[in-house]
């Protein structure tokens, strides 16, 4: 019989505004296991973990650690009990070096600790884990995956033996995810208990020993991962059957609508990020642009939209050269763009209605540049209805909506503008199963209506599922373009890593 390390009994959490986040949750974590907590956004996963970490107090219920009842008044109490938490958004100081960050976090425990001591401790820990992290590099210069490892090391240095990871893969590239999993397995070997919050079924299967599925503030089931299939997990997570995937039609494509010819774009530092890209986009197709993040995708699409200047090459929309048009003019022509980050595509402090006219303001202006708000409300209402957005009202600040609903508003706004060219970047990033399904279905529907879609995604499943054609970008160059069925996930992975097709076929 495994030994329980954490027992949470009948946890209820009611927020001051009356929202019931947890409706009596029982959770038992065994010593030394990797335990996944699976659920849609808003299922109560994060609330439950924040209670365990002492950040918020439960309305009622008991928590036992190693069989002993505890009453946490803040994260410090939890840290003292050996609990460590790694958030989605890191708590490192970006301008400090790795060592300075680690030193700082340990100073809170022991005021007299020296930087040299911290370095020795860290190096010993890294040896144990087989890790290499440049201790003297400034944090903001490191890749996200490495920053995350620093966060984990930080908690381990504080002697955590229970590690909570809140959606750790949402910020990582596929390769970084693999590395994270390797590290987690090593930690497990060292006897560390890991709680892994996610909404991705594949990850549950890949890493966890057991899984607890939550839905609307309740635990649905706790299962041995090896004994359930992905389909079963999906069914348990959302109570409807979402396993059927849309059918991809192939080969029906219309006019060439966008042609990019030898495009060169620089990034913020003035370095070439896009190096002579040529691409074509046709009506009625989804062109998936695959690549590891930071290989020029962002610069390429921003140049197509006009946010960034291309210093060489041309962009043609039908027969018109749009290389030097402003963003607004390109939008008016029928180009529409969903950025990868919601805090760019949406203005968080503004309300839902104000956000629904962001990229289409000129259509809501009267002669003297006065905004026609009743028209804007109509649009917002349309988006809310057609895209099943759950929001208290059309006047609610967008920041009070859940991530999935924000994404729906953003995608919905761009789709409602009836664009001819629809550029979407990471459209399902950080969304739960239901919202992801919804957005993907919508993209396919738009494609079937004859729209051209350029889909930029680091999620290879998404690329494979939705695209008619696929282009792979690496180091600012297109490695390969072709029909979807010419590719496998494995082949994509190699191309994204910069290995040429010829070498693959050999």
């Amino acid at each position: 019989m495994p030994e329980p390390i954490i027992e949470m009994e009948n946890i209820i959490k009611i927020y001051p505004d009356g929202v019931v986040a947890l409706k009596g949750v029982d959770l038992t974590i065994w010593k030394g296991e990797i335990h996944a907590i699976l659920g849609e956004n808003g299922a109560g996963k994060t609330t439950l973990m924040r209670i365990l970490y002492g950040e918020i107090k439960p309305t009622s219920g008991a928590i036992k650690i190693n069989g002993e009842e505890v009453d946490f008044h803040g994260p410090w109490d939890a840290i003292k009990r050996g609990i460590g938490m790694v958030y989605q958004h890191f708590t490192l100081i970006p301008t400090f070096t790795v060592l300075e960050n680690l030193h700082l976090s340990l100073l809170a425990l022991d005021e007299s600790i020296k930087a040299e001591d911290v370095e020795t401790l860290t190096r010993r820990l890294m040896d144990e884990l087989g890790l290499k992290i440049p201790l003297y590099d400034v944090v903001e210069d490191l890749p996200i995956g490495v920053q995350q490892r620093v966060e984990i090391i930080k908690t381990l240095l504080r002697k955590a033996n229970i590690l909570i990871l809140d959606e750790p893969t949402s910020v990582l590239t596929p390769i970084e995810v693999e590395e994270l999993f390797k590290m987690l397995r090593k930690l497990k070997k060292l006897g560390i208990t890991i709680i892994f919050i996610t909404h991705k079924l594949r990850e549950v299967k890949a890493i966890s020993d057991r899984v607890t599925i939550m839905r609307r503030g309740k635990v649905v089931a706790t299962l041995y991962t090896s004994k359930v299939s992905e389909e079963e997990l999906a069914r348990l997570t959302v109570d409807i059957d979402l396993t059927s995937k849309p059918k991809i039609r192939g080969g029906i494509r219309g006019r060439r609508i966008l042609s990019i010819n030898d495009l060169w774009v620089r990034d913020e530092r003035g370095l070439d990020a896009v190096k002579g890209v040529s691409l074509e986009l046709y009506e009625g197709e989804i062109l998936g642009l695959a690549g590891v993040q930071g290989n020029g995708q962002k610069e390429l699409i921003e140049a197509i939209v006009g946010i960034r200047r291309a210093y060489r090459g041309s962009i043609k929309y039908l027969d018109q050269d749009i290389t030097s048009l402003s963003v607004g003019d390109r939008y008016k022509l029928g180009i529409s763009y969903v950025p990868d980050s919601r805090n760019i595509g949406l203005v968080y402090e503004m309300n839902l209605t104000e956000n629904s006219i962001l990229t289409n303001l000129h259509n809501y202006l009267s002669g003297i540049r006065v905004i026609n708000w009743s028209e804007a409300y109509r649009t917002a209402d349309k988006i809310v209805r057609e895209y099943n957005v759950v929001a208290p009202s059309l006047r609610s600040p967008i920041q009070y909506l859940s991530g999935g609903n924000q994404q729906k508003v953003m995608v919905g706004r761009e789709a409602t503008r009836e664009p001819k060219v629809f550029i979407v970047s990471e459209p399902t990033h950080g969304l739960d199963v239901r919202a992801t399904r919804f957005i993907r279905n919508m993209l396919v529907k738009l494609r079937d209506l004859g729209k051209s879609i350029l889909l930029v995604s680091t999620d290879l499943d998404e690329i494979m599922e939705l695209s008619n054609r696929i282009a792979v970008i690496y180091g600012g160059r297109i490695m390969s373009v072709g029909d979807k069925n010419e590719y496998t996930i494995k082949k994509l992975g190699l191309l994204m890593g910069g290995i040429h097709e010829q070498r693959i076929t050999k």
């Binding site: 505004d17 006009g306 946010i307 402003s326 963003v327 607004g328 390109r330 939008y331 763009y337 950025p339 805090n343 760019i344 595509g345 949406l346 203005v347 968080y348 402090e349 503004m350 104000e354 962001l358 990229t359 303001l361 000129h362 202006l365 003297i368 540049r369 006065v370 905004i371 708000w373 208290p392 009202s393 006047r395």
Partner: protein, 356 residues
Amino acid sequence: MSKGSLSKLIETLSERLLTERREYLATLIETSSSLILALLAGGIVLAVLGYDPLNVYNILFRYGFGNIRYLLDKSTPLMMTGLAFAIPLIAGLFNIGGESQLYIGAFIALLAAYYTHSHVIGILAGTIAGGLLGAFIGILRVYRGINEVISSIMVNWIFFYLIIYLISGVYYNPERPHESIPIPKDARIYPISNISVIFAIAVLASILYYIILFHTDIGYKMRVTGLSTASAKYAGFNPDLSMIYSMLLGGAAAGLGGALLVLGMTYSIDDMLSAVYGLGFTGIGIGLLGRLHPIGIILASIFFSGLLIGGQWVELKTGAPPELADTLIGVIVIALAIPYVYKLLVSRLIQRRVIE
């Protein structure tokens, strides 16, 4: 309409009403409790210093809000400098230059009215002068990358001394050498049957700013720019232009404030600038107290003016030094503004960090 959809509509409507009422209730509790806390904090300060809080508050509020015309007159320039701070901040700029924008507005209005005998021309000239000075700081920021706080502070002092020089050396009143030439009688703005005309003009200007901010594309773009420059670029707006517009509008507000001050209240400027000094700085507090909202700023300027007026009487009636009233006002205003200012500064600073 089917029965199902009707009931659904009623359901959503009532839900919306319920959530909004909850918001109202929260605002109500939040505001009244913070005011009570503010007064309590001030009361404690008074008690510690050995004054009877009830008596002091009695004088402060009774005299402060007792003379309506004085109250409204006094709030006029403050309302305008409140806007001068708020409008640029909405677009993401800290305009500390309301001070010099008001000086130049007052001075140019004075000259214009002196030579043309027209208050309308005085108002227009002062407003334009303030706006141009504001835009100048905005242009320095946008095209030269000069931090607007630093340039505003420097410009404040440049104009402080320049105008002192002009008033004491060139445009002085030969009969009263410490004063500038006066506004001619026919160019002064008088109240109409005890209604403060300058206050009415200021309120109209505030309403105009409200409309610009929330009902025109200029305002919409300014707000987006202030909240997120990246979003503004994404939406195809020109954030630089929005920033300059915001400084133009902010400066114009301060300039109008200065014009109304000389045309409707002081009729001249003294060579120490005590007629105009400090109003721009007070405007910062008013902008924040009014939650950067033009309508809020109207009310905040009245509230603040009442405290300033009452403070003078506290000295007279209790014998307390004038610093006591100033301290008390500071405590009340800070207690009222702190939660909001904190939120605001944090979000704006983070936003700036991301961009710069």
